[in-house]
Assembly symmetry: C2
Homo-oligomer: 416 residues x 2
């Protein structure tokens, strides 16, 4: 029997409700921050990703790319930033700066299967384009923090580790590294916690640097650049969520300033979110026509989902949000009244209430079971008393009898 | 400069808001009807589509299929029904019958470019699985009608053309057609309005039928099977939206009973929606393990969007729904108060209000322009009077001065 491909998910109704809750939470916090939603196509020209990355980059190795029926080299999007940069470059003159944009989209990477990694995943992205000040950096960080808080997490559960790619580049260049050496040194810095020191020292040899050089730079702590960003976060009461940490370098090549990753405090999981400033990317992808500074980040649904499951407060908050319900179940107590029952169902739905009923004849007891199963608040019983209808409140078992035309307005007014 | 691929769409914020409004309208009507949302992966095993269709079927000719990095033959989903049937077959025992499920997903077909057709499009799908009665047919038709009505359309604007694949098969078999001849005759019936009679008669030759045979069958009108469906729609007050019309046959091979398409009354556009009963498909795709009758339909966003644009009442309704707004814009009248302004912005966002502010110093007049541009309801002016803040209602120009801590609770209470 056919199954979903490995690394791809089926969203059965319970899973889909959970996914939609995550998406709607991301959207609602972003709107509070005055971000506007955008989206792009799932399929893009493969050049969009090849142009931006060096050959051999992990993201290209994992690209779902192929030749389409028109002979085009195309790829399933592995990330949003190139699409965003392309869209911004094409139309930036139509928009006031700074542009505060977000999106919630699905992405595709041919990853090895492991915890926290899927081949199709959802990711939230937010970017501020056209503003290079630390105020924009702080606005993006505050949004990232409030997105995580919205799921019920506190400073006990997560931390934003803040670094600065520019501080790294200044340090490496001051030590005589050219572009290739910088890239190599950053790749090694990214692996300090994961690879043995002698192996890294061997890799670092062409740069003239050693692991202890990198470690001393990291230990030197917080670069000056962090001052205004940390102040702007303190003014919002969000200092407790951020820790300067130069060991964060981020994998992608295009970052130019502040970079950050969000981790669970217990460090059990991969990064919840990550991003940074990329002031040259829009210019590069627009062949120089749109020279706009930018900062952005992404947050996936997979690691977030694991952290929710592992954190009782967040798991409970999610469960409460997902409690299913139906406003009213119409019980057809007498099949000769089915037409009347259908009219009543329609009257509920017309005013925006959710209403269901049995599609085939069933005993009244079985219909009540179905109403309970669907989480119905009320049952409306249509039978020989028509045009009178008995309305039962299922939690309290209280009931009253009303004219059928009075039911929809009554339940509607109770709801709003 | 790189662009989106032909037939693929960029959703800039205005387009994205419109898309989201369509999606949310579909969702809200479906929930009123007691349907639960599900979704599947964008990428599936190519066999899922090959198994269900004859070789040479249009949907296979247009399939975005390729070999992935693991050597699997995969395809971007061109429609939802095979995914649904696969998911249902795998877990149907976990769900009470009938299952009323819907989804809103993107699909991919390598179409020739023309009005109403894109290569990536959104489509709503709803299905009732596990119930074969005409009551289920009527429930699906009522949902389809109310989905279109929710955008401001009336019986003046659209009509559901109702047909019956079983009536067609009975007729064709009574005239001696075997399976291949039935398929050929149905393909010709599908083209009666588009191809010349002599060409169709030539194609029909192997079936022993002529165009006039097909036309007489169609003219004979409404099969008995429509009786209970039409009654159940009449009981809901929805008769005026449906017309029996046996000229509708639908392209796909798997339909077994009622089929329908929704058209704009002026017939300027392709079908808005289409679907029908497919009682053998779940069984076929589950190798016989799950034998469940089913009925469903799909509605795309592209033709619907054209009809909205061409119908003033619907276009106006959409415009009103999309009017953008921001609850409050914080004007930083004095840069020395920026930290206080940031704290105020945070206090608005914490209670769920949307709030924005200038990321860099700007003249007060320019900040007010920005507030107007963003559709802000209020401006809160932070300056030397702190902790007092002037709150201005931008539509009426009325203003008052309040302690900063009183602002968020006040605007929050006004909103709810």
């Amino acid at each position: 029997m056919l199954q979903a491909l490995p690394g791809f998910r089926d969203f059965y109704p319970g899973d889909c409700a959970r996914r939609n809750h995550v998406v709607e939470t991301w959207r609602s916090v972003s709107r509070r921050y005055g971000f506007a939603e955008f989206d792009g196509p799932v399929l893009e020209s493969a050049d969009l990703y090849r142009k931006k990355n060096e050959e051999g980059a992990e993201i290209l190795e994992q690209l779902y790319s192929f030749t389409d029926r028109g002979g085009r080299e195309v790829a399933l999007r592995p990330e949003m930033t190139p699409t965003l940069a392309r869209m911004v470059a094409a139309r930036e003159k139509h928009y006031r700066k700074p542009m505060k944009w977000f999106c919630v989209s699905n992405f595709f990477r041919h990853e090895r299967q492991q915890k926290g990694r899927l081949r199709e995943f959802l990711q939230f992205n937010a970017d501020i384009i056209g503003e290079s000040s630390p105020q924009a950096d702080a606005e993006i960080l505050a949004l990232a923090i409030d997105l995580v808080r919205a799921f019920g997490f506190t400073a006990e559960h997560f931390v934003v580790r803040l670094s600065d790619r520019k501080a790294w580049m200044d340090f490496l260049q001051s030590r005589g590294c050219d572009e290739a050496a910088c890239r190599l040194a950053l790749a090694c810095a990214d692996k300090l916690e994961r690879e043995p020191e002698d192996k890294l020292n061997a890799k670092l040899a062409p740069t003239g640097l050693s692991v202890s050089d990198l470690k001393s730079f990291i230990a030197a702590g917080s670069p000056e650049a962090f001052g205004p960003v940390l102040e702007a976060l303190a003014a919002r009461g969000l200092s407790g969520f951020v820790e300067p940490d130069l060991s964060i370098v981020r994998g992608l090549a295009y970052y130019t300033g502040v970079v950050f990753e969000i981790f669970d405090r217990s460090k059990n999981l991969r990064a919840l979110a990550g991003g940074g400033r990329y002031d040259g990317l829009v210019k590069g992808l627009s062949d120089g026509s749109a020279d706009l500074p930018a900062i952005g980040f992404g947050m996936g649904d997979v690691v977030l989902g694991h952290l929710i499951d592992e954190t009782p407060a967040a798991a409970e908050k999610l469960r409460a949000a997902l409690a299913s319900h139906l406003d009213v179940f119409v019980v057809v107590a007498d099949e000769s009244c089915r037409a009347e029952a259908l009219g009543l169902v329609q009257s509920f739905r017309e005013v925006g209430l959710s209403a269901d009923f049995p599609l085939k004849p069933a005993k009244v007891g079985k219909q009540f079971q179905e109403a309970e199963h669907l989480g119905a608040r009320h049952a409306a019983i249509v039978g020989q008393e028509w045009p009178q209808v008995k309305l039962k409140h299922l939690a309290t078992r209280s009931e009253e009898t009303l004219d059928h035309a009075a039911l929809a307005p009554k339940l509607k007014s109770q709801k709003s």
